[in-house]
Symmetry: C3
Subunit: 387 residues, 3 copies
Amino acid sequence: MSTDALDLTNLPLFDHHCHGVLTNDVDRAEFEGLISESSRPATDGTTRFDSQVGFQVRAHCAPILGLEPFAAPDDYLARRRELGADEVNRRLLRAANIAVYGIETGHDAGRINGPADMAELGDASHCEIVRLERLAEQVAERVRDAPGASAAQLVDEIERTLDARLEHAVGVKTIAAYRIGFDFDDARPGRSAVESSAARLLETEGPLRLDDPTLIRHLIWLAIDRACVIQVHVGYGDDDVDLHRCNPLLLTRLLRASVDSGARFTLLHCYPFHREAGYLADVFPHVYFDIGLAINYTGSRSEAVIAESLELAPFGKILFSSDAFGAAELYYLGTLLFRRGLTAALARFAELDGWPLAEQQRVARMIGYENAARVYGFDPLAQNGAA
Amino acid sequence: MSTDALDLTNLPLFDHHCHGVLTNDVDRAEFEGLISESSRPATDGTTRFDSQVGFQVRAHCAPILGLEPFAAPDDYLARRRELGADEVNRRLLRAANIAVYGIETGHDAGRINGPADMAELGDASHCEIVRLERLAEQVAERVRDAPGASAAQLVDEIERTLDARLEHAVGVKTIAAYRIGFDFDDARPGRSAVESSAARLLETEGPLRLDDPTLIRHLIWLAIDRACVIQVHVGYGDDDVDLHRCNPLLLTRLLRASVDSGARFTLLHCYPFHREAGYLADVFPHVYFDIGLAINYTGSRSEAVIAESLELAPFGKILFSSDAFGAAELYYLGTLLFRRGLTAALARFAELDGWPLAEQQRVARMIGYENAARVYGFDPLAQNGAA
Amino acid sequence: MSTDALDLTNLPLFDHHCHGVLTNDVDRAEFEGLISESSRPATDGTTRFDSQVGFQVRAHCAPILGLEPFAAPDDYLARRRELGADEVNRRLLRAANIAVYGIETGHDAGRINGPADMAELGDASHCEIVRLERLAEQVAERVRDAPGASAAQLVDEIERTLDARLEHAVGVKTIAAYRIGFDFDDARPGRSAVESSAARLLETEGPLRLDDPTLIRHLIWLAIDRACVIQVHVGYGDDDVDLHRCNPLLLTRLLRASVDSGARFTLLHCYPFHREAGYLADVFPHVYFDIGLAINYTGSRSEAVIAESLELAPFGKILFSSDAFGAAELYYLGTLLFRRGLTAALARFAELDGWPLAEQQRVARMIGYENAARVYGFDPLAQNGAA
């Protein structure tokens, strides 16, 4: 800390929202699917490698795998298979240098590894976040198969299961954005309405996909009543989302209604509504946000998006996440681009307004690690005496 | 004007929308409240000083009070009390170097000083803007207490009082954004609907808070009919606002309906909808805008926001305001950051496109002073032979 | 390609959406009208020259006409008349150095020249895009005048005429943004509803202005069924548009419904929703976008807007257009600013992430020319053996 230039290479990072990685080798089509939010293959005549994130993979991950920067996509995939998924994952996750993985376990869990395996691969601590909608779907599938199951039982069992999961998990997540949008009634639904919706769910055949507004609102209010940290998918995602209905400002009334509950909301990704998220984090004491997967997917432009996230929100309300899923490249790039973009932004503030180096470092530690440790009440670095 | 580098240190500024300052000393909690738009204290574990505006106070106001830059918050507050509110106000307002204060007198007037006192403290000229909703509330409280008061009397008295105030005031302001949002019917309400709303208002007990859409629309149309300059709070504000209902584009039909009325609309703040405001200022001849309080609250990032405000809108349609309230720091920082950000933007345009220095200066004078002087019909510098 | 600095001066450009130029001389008021999207003259006390695009004309077009940069507006207009419209058009269009004009012929065609004349003036190839609403209006005006015309005949005749036009045109355009906004029902309307709307259209007297949602949706679905390239006006335009109803995200359901149709959507302009457009181009394989007229009208700031357009969207989904109409200055400035802004953005990416020069050039060619050539199936440079 005696030099003048800010260096965040070893800034401790609490990746408060990410998923596991694939442990099997992938072919080019699968890999292109992993580096895109679209549920569809690239348009004829194009490749997913010709994108900001694709160029980042070639620029920065290729050397980690022992290739020259900007290796051709096919060469990159060949090298990936040559090393094998385990070695690739290990190299990229170690390079990511993440202190804590906050693993959200509700998305496509069958394809990827679990929290403990992630932590081992990445030589890191971990904690778990429970996806509310997946929990309800799993409980409903179980209850449905029991003889004489009632809606009341389902409602009770969801609550019991949530309580059990919260004995270990540090928070919950909702994907209301994908399922119902944010233009929902903010009031806590009554028991009878919840049971009616639960009854309909039990009558559904086949794999369940929860998209009932009453039940989703009920899940959110269960979490509010438990003073949980509630991760909310906001903004940018795949083509399943109606993005205009996922503007975080549509949550304003729910946030107002829950401001004194003890619950805290961590708004994820938020692009292209990250300025709106910064406003909410400013005016509501229980709102936090990150720009999550937007960092990876804007690539060389992420420095601008990161800078835009540092406007209205107090520095104690901004978090870091990679939102990485499946490909170990996304953890590495998420941290690389975050460290770089935050460094550039803080250096610019120092240049303009003389921010002392110690203050730059303090703000970086808050955003990179300490805010999440405080919000989630999980601070392994402090427990290790290292923070 | 013989050097090549643009210097806006002494650019005359017409701060067309601001308020008074507190004349008493404040403790840390009060001061933190003044440097935030939130109605709530900072979250546990955080302070309002750890924000863009907090860092600006420490960076630039501390030296004005005789401290080192980035003095600790408690030292800053101690020094503030040591000097006393009057000296602090005088130093910071003189440093702000504002030529004209356009004081909006309808917000929390009991806590702050009045226009004439502000002008004396800042060694500046001043003019007044009347807040429509406050005027109506004050009239209604008075009429309500008179024996046999009728709704018709209230409607008439609002109009008479407005006319009386407009003999001195240069414009009006509406906070429809806070009270009803912008998704209201743009048509002029009829007399009977207005009287029905007025009757309901008279039946209300206790302090009045006008949030009746008919009456608020009526007030706006009274101002349109009088060809007033109408300041409109737009976008970012405190947690009382539903920000998604304050997008200025929602005013499009009202603007279209009033385009030939002689009234002019000055859209205030507008963040994060400042590009949308720039569009409206481009296509509607009677629309102007500023980025007001967004400059202070984005701090080191204000240069980016200022640059974004210089896109679609013709240079004759952009205004300056600090929207400062209560803390003299906000006037000083508002002018410092505006001068700096405008200088940087114009210098970049010169670098890219060869804008001559005289043209840079001319555009700066328009935005800083001349546009407001023309729109409000108030030009004390010209009257003094100094502009 | 042996130097290190990217040079896009001679990058081939496919201007996939533009119009013709005026062939007569214009006075100052007319010229000010051409360099603004507003339907109204500049506000008293201001001029359209005091704007980003006005400064661009003085900075870069004045020298093409043999004047010093930043010539006074009146001197510029005088010189323009002295040279004559034909010489001015020829100089500016040659300087624009456009390879292909994609001319949309449905806007104010009586005032401007046609595609073949444009191509001759600009020494370029050309192709045509048909405006759906104008086509329907023209057919309806013709059918209406025929004795015993029926709604069914009108519906059939629109379809026949569209098919005939598509024998030559490379795509269609819709101005649903202006006429009905994007918050329309995405379903294909039934024949009887279409005929009812057609009947109402036939009963209208005087010049027709199609603003019937059913008919406009019908036109769009006709184009989807024909697997057309469909240009969609999105975002920023004149004061006739309700901009908040032209957010491209409002098209999400229509895009979802048409994803496997073979049709492709090219979203035009998109400002200030260009990030939203980039998201759609990322997740939907049949969506493309440009930032069109926003480049000209943000002038010195266009480099920022261009950079923002290079975030989420794969590089194979971004297009170039000038959206120039009437004034030859707008073609020249559109290409100048696009080449410059793209160069700056790619150079920055190279600086940050080591993009090789060949990759910068490849991405530039895709965006400037090749994406449009592939999407529209029109590639005269390849046919000439020059691409």
